[in-house]
């Protein structure tokens, strides 16, 4: 009895203190992890609460059906489709560059390169994603546009084409890295089986590996789309500030993001209609990108279940 009490009292106090400290650390780490959820709710809440009063002044019908976006004019019109057409136009141009090039680069890196070559090329390609977007904007406006104007003389000095092209080059690494990861996750025996049947590397790549990795590749495309939709500086610098409901890539246009930049550059009192419109544009953008992100994650989760 005496031994036991001597053994247990100081020890249990020390142990209880230690357990308390351990659970305190665990709790504070949990709170840190939870903060990211608060950020998401903060973003969604702020955007919705600042954007909603806008719809007291403007009917949803006008918002969707108006064919012009002129909120700061005397006779304001709020046709969101005008800005959305700019966003979709530049995104479409970017994707026609990024999807073929990104896919070819991914197949090449995953199936044709030696391990050594891949270790060199992959980080180099990823540097494309490291360049600040404002630098890409400069490049689009002052290098690509003058270059294209030599081929297409009718090209305006602010245009959707060069902004889209540069954006496409910028998102190549997003698409190629994720696609390559997906292709390399395809089990080796599929590859070997195909080669053993006498198929060439090219046939194996496009008839076996790409279909097997398709959900991963598709999710890479979808994430590339959402990256292009939200890209701001390239389009704000090179695509111009002219909202236009048209799909002509040679003219200037304005995207949702470029509109937010343009309005934020001036001084806007909180609560004014101009201030509300940037939140409306932001909310539309958030809904678009979140939708694409969720689709992409869904496709990818399906792939991960397939090859466990």
């Amino acid at each position: 009895m005496a031994i036991r009490s001597e053994f247990s009292t100081p020890q249990s106090l020390k142990r209880r203190l230690r357990n308390f400290k351990e659970s305190l650390i665990g709790l504070s780490l949990f709170l840190c992890a939870l903060s990211s959820v608060l950020i998401t709710f903060g973003v969604i809440y702020t955007l919705i609460s600042e954007a909603l009063p806008f719809f007291k002044d403007v009917s949803l019908k006008n918002f969707i059906l108006d064919r012009e976006w002129t909120p700061l004019f005397e006779n304001p019109q709020y046709g969101i489709l005008t800005l959305m057409s700019g966003t979709f136009l530049t995104t479409a141009i970017a994707l026609t560059i990024a999807i073929p090039l990104g896919t070819v680069a991914a197949v090449f890196l995953s199936e044709y390169c030696s391990h050594r070559a891949r270790e060199i090329f992959k980080p180099l390609l990823e540097l494309l994603a490291a360049v600040p977007t404002v630098v890409y904007g400069y490049f689009a406006l002052l290098f690509i546009t003058p270059l294209l104007q030599k081929i297409i003389p009718s090209l305006e000095s602010f245009n959707a084409l060069s902004a889209g092209l540069v954006m496409g080059i910028m998102i190549i690494p997003y698409i190629s890295s994720l696609s390559e990861d997906a292709m390399r996750a395809v089990p080796l025996h599929l590859r070997e089986g195909s080669l053993a049947m006498g198929a060439s590397k090219l046939q194996t790549s496009f008839n076996v590996i790409v279909p097997a990795a398709f959900s991963g590749i598709a999710s890479a495309y979808v994430l590339g789309i959402s990256r292009a939709l939200g890209e701001t500086m390239v389009v704000a610098i090179a695509a111009g500030l002219q909202p236009r409901l048209s799909l002509n890539p040679l003219e200037s246009t304005q995207t949702l993001t470029a509109y937010i930049v343009q309005v934020s550059m001036g001084d806007l009192p909180q609560g004014s209609i101009g201030y509300r419109t940037i939140y409306v544009a932001g909310l539309v953008l958030l809904i678009l990108t979140l939708t694409f992100n969720l689709i992409g994650q869904n496709i990818r989760a399906r792939m991960e279940n397939k090859y466990k």
């Binding site: 950020i39 490291a130 360049v131 002052l142 046939q203 930049v261």
Partner: protein
């Protein structure tokens, strides 16, 4: 007799055709990579050739000015430095703590799933929406104003997912027998994390931190919405002061019609590009060093 030989010839031409196609695709892949890398190279070369003549000591130590040849980036690079300092103070501890929690503590339940899904989505939303959130919340609701503190916190939120994801990936590469050995010697969970998990994953975590900072330095759009000014002719003396940063200064110069300012923009872009490429190179090097150090 003649039919077998013609089939042999057919097979031979077939194989040769396939080999030719293979070679052709190999060539296409090489050209694709070359095209992407040449674009990067021409971007760097164009910026260097236009901007290099403007790079001088006075360019680094002059304030912005109406006269292009007198304007410099003093307030811009000091501002960038201060903003990134606030960003790191906020995002690095929070990001590493979240990563450690998700890998070492979190049980597999719906809450964990929710946090994970949420981080994936945070990484995917456009940077400008962070700016809108910060304008509504930090600037107007918390009355922090258009200050260095607001800007640093905005970028902190933006790069948080990068740090969380890379921390988790780094911890995941540590085999579980390391943990088991530590527990079997009587170490507590925190002792195990502090003495084993964090040191062994520090290479991966540092890589993530460096990439996150390089992203923060180059980020422009969210700072425009929270009101980074373009004409700041003084140095900030407190975190509540107005500020400008390098990418905003460059954006301002690009947007002007005069060609002289475009030269300034190229010079500022060259400084910015050098910084981000240097940071990314550092990240690749750290990853390489630690991959050699720990082999499980």
């Amino acid at each position: 007799m003649s039919s077998t030989s013609s089939r042999q010839i057919n097979l031979k031409t077939q194989i040769e055709k396939l080999k030719r196609q293979d070679m052709f695709f190999w060539f296409v892949g090489l050209i694709t990579l070359a095209f992407a890398l040449l674009t990067l190279l021409s971007l760097i070369a164009d910026m260097a050739m236009t901007g290099w003549p403007r790079i001088s000591q006075s360019f680094f130590f002059s304030f912005p000015s109406r006269f292009p040849d007198k304007a410099g980036i003093y307030s811009a690079w000091v501002g960038s430095f201060c903003v990134v300092l606030v960003t790191s103070l906020m995002a690095i501890p929070l990001g590493i703590a979240s990563g450690v929690y998700l890998e070492e503590y979190a049980k597999k339940n719906i809450w964990t799933k929710l946090i994970e899904l949420n981080i994936l989505n945070l990484a995917g939303i456009p940077s400008i929406t962070y700016g809108l959130m910060a304008l509504g919340f930090f600037v107007y609701r918390m009355h922090l104003g258009q200050s260095i503190l607001t800007a640093g916190m905005t970028l902190g939120l933006l790069v948080l997912p990068i740090i969380i994801v890379t921390t988790r990936e780094a911890i995941r590469t540590i085999p579980s027998h390391i943990r088991e050995a530590s527990y079997s010697l009587g170490a507590t969970k925190w002792q195990t994390i502090h003495n084993h998990i964090l040191p062994y994953s520090s290479g991966g975590i540092m890589t993530g931190v460096v990439i996150a900072l390089s992203r923060a330095i180059g980020e422009t759009a969210p700072l425009i919405t929270v009101g980074a000014l373009t004409f700041i002719a003084f140095l900030p003396s407190s975190p509540m002061d107005p500020y400008t940063v390098l990418p905003i200064q460059m954006f301002n110069w690009v947007s002007r019609p005069q060609e002289e300012f475009h030269i300034n923009a190229a010079a500022a872009g060259l400084v910015l590009l050098t910084m981000t490429l240097f940071l990314n190179g550092t990240a690749i090097y750290i990853r390489y060093l630690f991959r050699k150090k720990y082999k499980w």
